[in-house]
Amino acid sequence: MKKIYMDNNATTAVKPEVLEAMLPYFCEQFGNPSSVHWAGRMVGGAIEKAREQVARLFNCSAAEVIFNSCGSEGDNHAIKGTADALKHKGNHIITTSVEHPAVLETCEALEKDGFEVTYLKVDHNGMLDLAELEAAITDKTILISVMWANNETGNIFPIEEIGEIAKKHKVRFHTDAVQAAGKIAIDVRKVNVDMVVISGHKIGAPKGIGAMYLRRGTKISRFMHGGHQERNRRAGTHNVPSIVGLGAACDIALKNMDKDYAYVRHLRDKLEAGILSTISDVKLNGHPDANLRLPNTLNVSFNYIEGESLLLFFDMKGIAASSGSACTSGSLEPSHVMGAMGVDIVLAHSSTRFSLSADNTDEEIDYILQELPPIVQKLREMSPLYGR
């Protein structure tokens, strides 16, 4: 059977060149880089090379890169580390209602500890009102945390403008760039941002590795206490093979960014146009201007159909996608992102995300556009909401 993977915002395959780069570091160059002997020496250089590669993706200096274990850890560290380091200055944090749980649930945990959090609303396109953001700043505000791009809709937030607002009010600014990284430029010299979090497994590196840009001079408390790795900022023996893999993946992503953007966007636009033109009662979730969305993400609601059923039928045809339906998450509520955008509850349960990569092809899009309509029709005929 065909296997068409369109769930790259959930996780990507490791790129063969990345695995290749990692392989020597498991059984042969396995040392602990902190050690004073051949086994340690063999790997120290590898880490510093990877740090340079990651720094180039951020366009920062290597000393501003901290390796950690994943995007969730980066977000936890950035937010809790700032809250602790700046608690003498204030107790107010501004974020959005469409962040990833790694940000949202971290902020909710801080609320229990006496912090106050403003969760900015979004409009029905999933976008922020920057005047509202600026108005929310008080003299107690110690952190603004707004994601660079949203994982469900692909919406790109105006990080440059938010950075200017943060600068004007001298508030620290963190952005979760887990989805933006590798797809669009995340250049910290062009935008004013203090902390940027990325995760390996969204850009062709393995799961279980991440990195944070921490602007020079930014005071932050430790999240992981212990050894003095990463200039005392993140304890734990360096995950050498995965660090090497993350470096290689950043290198490849940077080199191919323009080419991949154009190619993936062409595929996504074709899928989007095809679905919207051949299937009735489909709603696009996210900003209608494709320039304001990641090139690879398409989120649509097939009205009257619950998302998990749709995914299961897709799966029978080899198509891997994801849904904002409650039934796929094990929770009782559908996607909080759809909820924040004011998407009707049935449409939220119907929301379906296709997230592409440069490994997808035109033929795959043609195949999906051919298989989709009968699946949608079949499920609609089963639906008590259809044709009422």
Binding site: E308, S309, L312, M316, P384, L385
Partner: protein, 122 residues
């Protein structure tokens, strides 16, 4: 995640649609939980002659709907009323723990349809 039986009933659901001239209809669930199930019946001499379903919901919701219609057809309404959610899940060789609530819907919808029939014919 799902058993072969669940996948069979999900991908080839039995008795989809609305019974024409139904004399009992039951609907349970609501959109906010992501599942709605409607069952319509044709009862003659207290025997369920025809039964059909329409469901908005996950794989388990559709499979249990399909299964409950197969189990109900030909039964007397008293027999159908003692059909339990558990029995529906068992007939599908079980459901994942997170999906047990979906099986609740299927038998509930059937029972609602029977209640509706009784109301109409009392």
């Amino acid at each position: 995640m799902y058993t072969a039986k669940v996948m069979d009933h999900f991908s080839n659901p039995r008795n989809v649609g609305e019974v024409e001239n139904a004399n009992g209809v039951g609907e349970v669930g609501n959109a906010s939980c992501g599942d709605i199930m409607r069952i319509s019946l044709q009862v003659e001499d207290d025997i369920i002659k025809d039964v059909k379903f329409k469901t908005f919901g996950c794989g388990a919701a559709i499979a249990t709907s399909s299964m409950v219609t197969e189990m109900a057809i030909g039964k007397t309404i008293d027999e159908a009323l003692i059909l339990t959610n558990q029995a529906v899940a068992e007939a599908l060789d079980g459901l994942p723990p997170a999906k047990m609530h979906c099986s609740n819907l299927a038998a509930d919808a059937l029972h609602e349809a029977i209640k509706d029939y009784r109301k109409q014919n009392s």
